[in-house]
Amino acid sequence: MGHSHTVHLTEERYSMTSKTRNILFGVLALGLILTIIGIFQAQGAAHHEAAEHSALVSTETGVVSADAAHHGPTWVSRLWANLLLNGWYTLIIAMAGTFFIAVNYAANAGWATGLKRISEAMGHYLPVGLVIFLLIVFLGGDSLYHWRADGIMDENSPNFDSIIASKGWFLNSAFYYVVAPLLVVVFYLFHRNFTNMSIREDKEGGVGFFKRSVAFSGAFLFLFAFGFSILSWEYIMSVDPHWFSTIYAIYNFAISFVCGMTVMTMITLFLKSQGYLSFINGEHIHDLGKFMFAFTIFWTYIWLAQYLLIWYADMPEETVYYYMRLDGNEGIYQFQFWANLFLCFFIPFLALMTRNAKRNPMWLYLVGSIILIGHWNDLYLMIMPGVMQEHASIGLLEIGMPIFFGALFVFIVLKAFEKAPTFPLKHPYLEESVHHDVGP
C-alpha cells in the first residue's frame, strides 16, 4: 500500500542563487566591518575608562599604578566574551538540528520528514562551529574564565580561591581541552552517521536505514543529554565560577531548542519562497510555529524555576547571580534583564498565540527575529556579568559580531543543503509528511 505515491514527487536540489550568495557575503562583510570598528571603539572606551580609573587612583593615593588598567576586564576580554557568546549560540543551534532529527526518529514522528534535510544541513555547521568555538575557548580562555587564572587553585599563591580550588576535579584541563571538545566531536559523528544513512536511503531505499537511524537516535539522545550538560557547565556556567545551579544545562538546552526551531522555521520559509519544498504547506509551518510557541513557554518555565527558587531561598552563594544582573555591577544589566523576559517570553507568547499568526510567513520572520535577538540577550546576561562585571556595554562590536556569525551560519547551512536532494526521497514517512493535514 502507498508505494505508488512516490512517483508524484520529483527529486529537487537546491542551488544557492548568486543573489543569495551576494547578500550573504554582503551581510558577512557588514558584520565583519562593524565588528572591527567595534573593536577599535571598545579599545577607545577601555582606555578612556582606564585613564579615568588611574586618575581616580592617583588623586586618592598619589601613586599612579602602571598596570591599573590591567586589573579589570579589558577590551580584549570584551572581544573574547562576545566571541564566546556567538560561538556558543551558533553551536547550540546547530546541535538542535541533530537533536530534531533524533527526536523525530525516536518519537516515530512522520510530519517533519519533508523538513529533515534542513535539520541535517543545520547540523553540518557543527564541525565549523566546533573549530571556531575551540579556538575561542582555547585562545581566549584566560580572559574568559576566572578559574583559569594563575595560582587560583594553589594554596600558596596569593591568588588562591578555596571555593574554586574545590572544583578542581571538574574545572581542569582534562575536561576543558579533551572531554568537552570530544563530546561535540561525538555529536558530529552521530550527525554524520544520520546524514550518510539518509543519503544512502535515497539511493537504496528500504526500511533498514530507518530502523538503524531509530536505534542511533536513542543512543544519541542519551549521550546528548549528558554531554550537553557537561558542555554547558564547563564552558558557560564556569564563567561565574563560584555560582552553581542544577537547572543550568536544561536552561541552555531550552535556548538551543527554541532557537533551533526558530532558525529552522525561517530557513524553511526562505526555501519555500525560493520555490523549493512546495509540498511543505501551511500545516507544516503551523506545526513549526507551535514548536516556537511551546518551547518559548518551556524556556520561561525553566527560567522561572531557576529565578523563583533562588529568589525564594535567598541564599547568598546563589542569589549573587541575580544580584549581579540586577542591582549589582552598578545596575548596568538591569534593563536588559527585564527586557529579556519581554523578548523571550511575553512578545513571542502573545504574538504566536493564534492559529493565523503561526501560519503567516512575514509574522513568523518578525517574531522569530525577536526570539533570536532575545536569546542573544539571554546569553549576553549569562556571560557578560561574569567576564566583564560592570565594564560591559553594547557597542558596534556587540551588534556586528552576531550579524557576522549569523551570516556565516546561514551560508554554511545553505551550502550543506545544496549537497543532497531537498527532502529524503525514500524515507518511509515521507508520504505522511507530504500528506500532512491536521484538519481544522
Binding site: G2, F170, V207, F226, T246, S278, Y301, E317
Partner: protein, 466 residues
C-alpha cells in the same frame, strides 16, 4: 485527511469493526462480574477498611500514633502524598499532552488512565488533610478565608497553599475532562440498556446526548479547550509539589532542577501505574486487540525516556552538590548514598535509573509479563525516591544533637496500604460500571478507516510538486 505509512503498527488489531468495539467494551457493564472481579473487589474493600480504621484512630488519638518526631516532622505522609500525586499525572498527560502531540495510541488508554488519575488524587489528598491533625477543621484552614470567620488568613507565600490550589484545580479539570469524554459512550450504553434501572441511570449520566453533528461539534471544541487548560495544569501540579521542598533551605531539597525533574518523575511513576493496571485489565477483560503490544511498547518508551531524565537529574544534583563546594550539600548526598538510609537510596537508583534501561531491548518492551514486573519496580522506585529525598534530608539536620532516625509505625503503614484499598475499590467499580476504553475515539482509528482515506488521497492532483 491524513495518510498513514504502511510501516506503522495498527492501533486496533484482530480486524475489529465498529460494532465489535461496542459489544466488547460494553460486555463487562452488561454482564455479571466475574469471580476474579469479586475476589479483587473484596480484597480492596478489606484494605479500604484498614484505611478507615487507621484514619479514625489517627484522628481520635492524634498523630502521636505516627513515627514523626521533632526533627523529622513529616515523612511517611508527605512521601505517600507525593507518590500518589505523581501517579495522578499520567492520565492527564495522556489525554492532554499526547493529544497536542497527535499521538493516536492514547485513545484506547486515556479513559482508564484518567480514571486512575482521579483516584490517585483522592488517595493523595488524604495525607496532608490528616497530617493537619484535626481533620474536621483542617480543610477550612487550607482555604483563604478571612480571619473574621474564625480561621487564620492563609500564608500565600507558602508553596503548601499553592498545592491546595493546584491540586484542587487539577482534580476538578481532570474530573470534567474525564466525564466529558465519557458522555458519548454513556449514551451508547443507555441506548443498549435492557433494564429500566440501567436505562434510567445511564440516561441521567449521559445528559441527553443525542449524537447530532451539532452536539459533536460542541463536544470537540470543549475537549480542545479542556486539553489546553489541562496541559499547563499537569505541569504545574508537580512543579508546585517540588517547590514544597525546593523553596526551603534544606540541603538536598533546595535545588533549581526540582520542578522539571519532579514532573519527569511523576510521568515516570504515572506510566508505571498505568502499565500495572492495563496489563491486568487487557488480560482479564480480553482487550488485547485494543491495548495492543504496540501500546505497551509505546508506554515502555515513555518509561525509558522519563526514567533516563530522572537519572540525569539525580546525576546532575549529585554533580552540582559536589561542584558547589558547599559542605552541607556534599554531606546531604553522601548521607543519602552511604548513610543509615543507604538501602533506600540504592533501591531508588536500581529501580528508577538502572532497571528502566532494560527497555532499550525491543523484545522486552513487547513482553507483557516482563513489563508488568518492571512497572511494579518503577512504582517501588518512585516511592523510594520521595522517601529518600524527604527523610534523608531531614533526619540529620544542621544541629547534630537533633539527629534521629525515622521509621513508620504500624498505623502509618496501615494508612498507606489502605490508600491502595481506596484506589483499587474505585478502579474496580469503574471497570464494572463505566466503559474502560473510549469507544467513540477507538472507532475513529480502526484500521479500515485509514484505507478509505488513502483511497481518497491517491486522486488528489496537488501531490505533483514539479
Amino acid at each position: 485527511m491524513s495518510y498513514e505509512s504502511p510501516i506503522r503498527e495498527p492501533l486496533v488489531t484482530g480486524g475489529r469493526t465498529a460494532s465489535d468495539v461496542t459489544a466488547e467494551i460494553c460486555r463487562p457493564l452488561e454482564n455479571k462480574p466475574s469471580k476474579l472481579w469479586w475476589l479483587g473487589f473484596t480484597l480492596s474493600i478489606v484494605c479500604l477498611t484498614i484505611l478507615v480504621y487507621t484514619l479514625v484512630r489517627s484522628s481520635f488519638e492524634g498523630l502521636g500514633l505516627w513515627g514523626i518526631n521533632k526533627t523529622v516532622g513529616w515523612a511517611w505522609d508527605i512521601t505517600n502524598f507525593v507518590f500518589w500525586v505523581g501517579i495522578g499525572h499520567a492520565g492527564t498527560l495522556i489525554s492532554a499532552i499526547l493529544l497536542l502531540f497527535r499521538q493516536k495510541w492514547r485513545m484506547s488508554i486515556n479513559r482508564s488512565a484518567e480514571a486512575m488519575t482521579i483516584f490517585a488524587v483522592f488517595c493523595a489528598a488524604i495525607f496532608p488533610l490528616f497530617h493537619m491533625g484535626r481533620v474536621w477543621i483542617g480543610p477550612v484552614w487550607a482555604l483563604p478565608l478571612p480571619n473574621a470567620l474564625g480561621s487564620l488568613w492563609v500564608n500565600f507565600n507558602s508553596p503548601l497553599l499553592w498545592d491546595v490550589f493546584a491540586i484542587s484545580t487539577y482534580l476538578s479539570v481532570s474530573l470534567l475532562f474525564w466525564y466529558l469524554g465519557m458522555v458519548p459512550d454513556l449514551a451508547t450504553i443507555r441506548d443498549r440498556a435492557a433494564t429500566p434501572i440501567r436505562k434510567f441511570v445511564y440516561r441521567f449520566l449521559s445528559m441527553g446526548w443525542d449524537g447530532s453533528t451539532r452536539t459533536w461539534a460542541r463536544y470537540e471544541v470543549v475537549s480542545l479547550i479542556l486539553a489546553g487548560i489541562s496541559t499547563p495544569l499537569v505541569l504545574s501540579v508537580h512543579t508546585i509539589v517540588s517547590m514544597d521542598f525546593a523553596t526551603s533551605v534544606i540541603p538536598g531539597w533546595h535545588t533549581t532542577i526540582f520542578p522539571p525533574y519532579f514532573v519527569a518523575g511523576a510521568i515516570f511513576s504515572g506510566f508505571g501505574m498505568v502499565l500495572t493496571l492495563l496489563i491486568i485489565a487487557r488480560k482479564v477483560m480480553g482487550y488485547e486487540n485494543y491495548i495492543t503490544i504496540g501500546h505497551l511498547d509505546a508506554m515502555c518508551r515513555v518509561i525509558l525516556l522519563t526514567g533516563s531524565m530522572v537519572g540525569l537529574a539525580y546525576i546532575t544534583e549529585f554533580f552540582i552538590a559536589w561542584y558547589s563546594g558547599v559542605q552541607y550539600e556534599r554531606y546531604a548526598f553522601l548521607n543519602r548514598m552511604a548513610g543509615p538510609y543507604w538501602w533506600a537510596y540504592w533501591s531508588m537508583m536500581t529501580c528508577n535509573v538502572i532497571s528502566p534501561q532494560l527497555f532499550w531491548v525491543k523484545k522486552w518492551r513487547r513482553n507483557p509479563n516482563f513489563i508488568f514486573v518492571m512497572s511494579i519496580i518503577v512504582n517501588i522506585g518512585m516511592w523510594f525516591e520521595r522517601f529518600v529525598i524527604i527523610v534523608t534530608s531531614l533526619h540529620r539536620d544542621y544541629l547534630p544533637s537533633s539527629w534521629v532516625m525515622y521509621s513508620p509505625t504500624l498505623i502509618e503503614i496501615g494508612i498507606f496500604v489502605g490508600t491502595f484499598g481506596l484506589f483499587f475499590t474505585c478502579f474496580f467499580l469503574f471497570a464494572k460500571f463505566l466503559p474502560v476504553i473510549n469507544m467513540a475515539e477507538v472507532k475513529s482509528i480502526l484500521p479500515g478507516k485509514a484505507h478509505s482515506h488513502e483511497a481518497e488521497e491517491v486522486k488528489q492532483p496537488d501531490l505533483v510538486t514539479q
